[in-house]
């Protein structure tokens, strides 16, 4: 991969999804910063690598209380956000953490990186914010 592009903010999502509203906060922050003209990178480690695995498909399983309604998967939600943000938002994910948890393939918008490259992303970002613990 070429040199890591510079960013104003690196959001390092270390904590696990489904435990708190950390992911919602990360997405809100990313969208808001990009909306103000900033450049954001997201790097996921640990169980957060599962957010963008392609096996999730576009939708969650059916809701028996509201059967006909579609609920987008996290992969679809993040893919759509990346599309809307253009080049303002890039999403990286840790290969080691993903493989350790059985994540084999991500949606195409996500770039898989080896863990020993994380420091390059920190260096390329004006500010790094860690979210959760691994």
């Amino acid at each position: 991969m070429a040199r890591v592009p510079e960013a104003d903010l690196l959001l390092a999502i270390m904590g696990a999804p489904h435990a708190s509203d950390m992911v919602a906060s990360a997405l809100r922050v990313a969208e808001a910063v990009v909306g103000q003209g900033g450049r954001v990178q997201v790097w996921t480690c640990g169980y957060a690598t599962m957010l963008t695995q392609s096996s999730l498909g576009d939708t969650k399983p059916r809701n028996v209380v509201d059967w006909s309604r579609d609920y987008p998967s996290t992969a679809k939600t993040i893919g759509d956000l990346l599309g809307r943000c253009g080049g303002g938002l890039t999403w990286y994910t840790c290969r080691f953490c993903g493989e350790e948890r059985g994540v084999t393939t991500h949606i195409p918008e996500v770039k898989v990186r080896p863990p020993f490259k994380f420091g390059e992303h920190v260096a390329a970002a004006g500010k790094t914010l860690f979210l959760g613990v691994i």
Binding site: P17, H18, A19, S20, D21, M22, V23, A24, L27, R28, E31, L51, K60, P61, N63, V65, D66, R69, Y71, P72, T74, T77, D80, L81, R84
Partner: protein, 118 residues
């Protein structure tokens, strides 16, 4: 005898769970076991407080709506309890408006076949 579910932790991944939050599990357990009540504690007591649905996140308008889920549970015969102490611990005033049908007071564990933390 009925079962009792205790939910203490709220807001566990809105974008990830959407409809499939812990209250969805409570509904299914109530259906399968033919009788399960719900005690809300901790931050989860706020589920019982009247409030508007949360606004969309990054365009996602299918976030959890715990008040709507509680209304479904109440309609299906689930008794929902919250205590004044837990409401106060969450910073809510004593006269805060709760969803119609929610009971103020503690569920008595010995009234139940089993008590589960969800």
């Amino acid at each position: 005898m009925r079962y009792l579910a205790i939910v203490e932790r709220g807001y566990r991944g809105s974008v990830e769970t959407q409809f499939a939050d812990v209250l969805y599990l409570v509904r299914e357990l109530n259906r399968q076991l033919d009788g399960l009540d719900l005690s809300l504690r901790g931050l989860a007591v706020t589920y019982a407080v009247t409030a508007d649905p949360v606004p969309p996140v990054v365009g996602l308008d299918t976030l959890p709506d715990p008040r709507a889920s509680l209304r479904t549970l109440l309609d299906e015969g689930v008794t929902v309890t919250v205590t004044d102490d837990d409401l106060a611990a969450a910073g809510l005033p004593g006269d805060v408006q709760l969803l119609p049908g929610v009971v103020r007071g503690a569920a008595r564990w010995t009234d139940y076949r089993a008590v589960w933390f969800l």
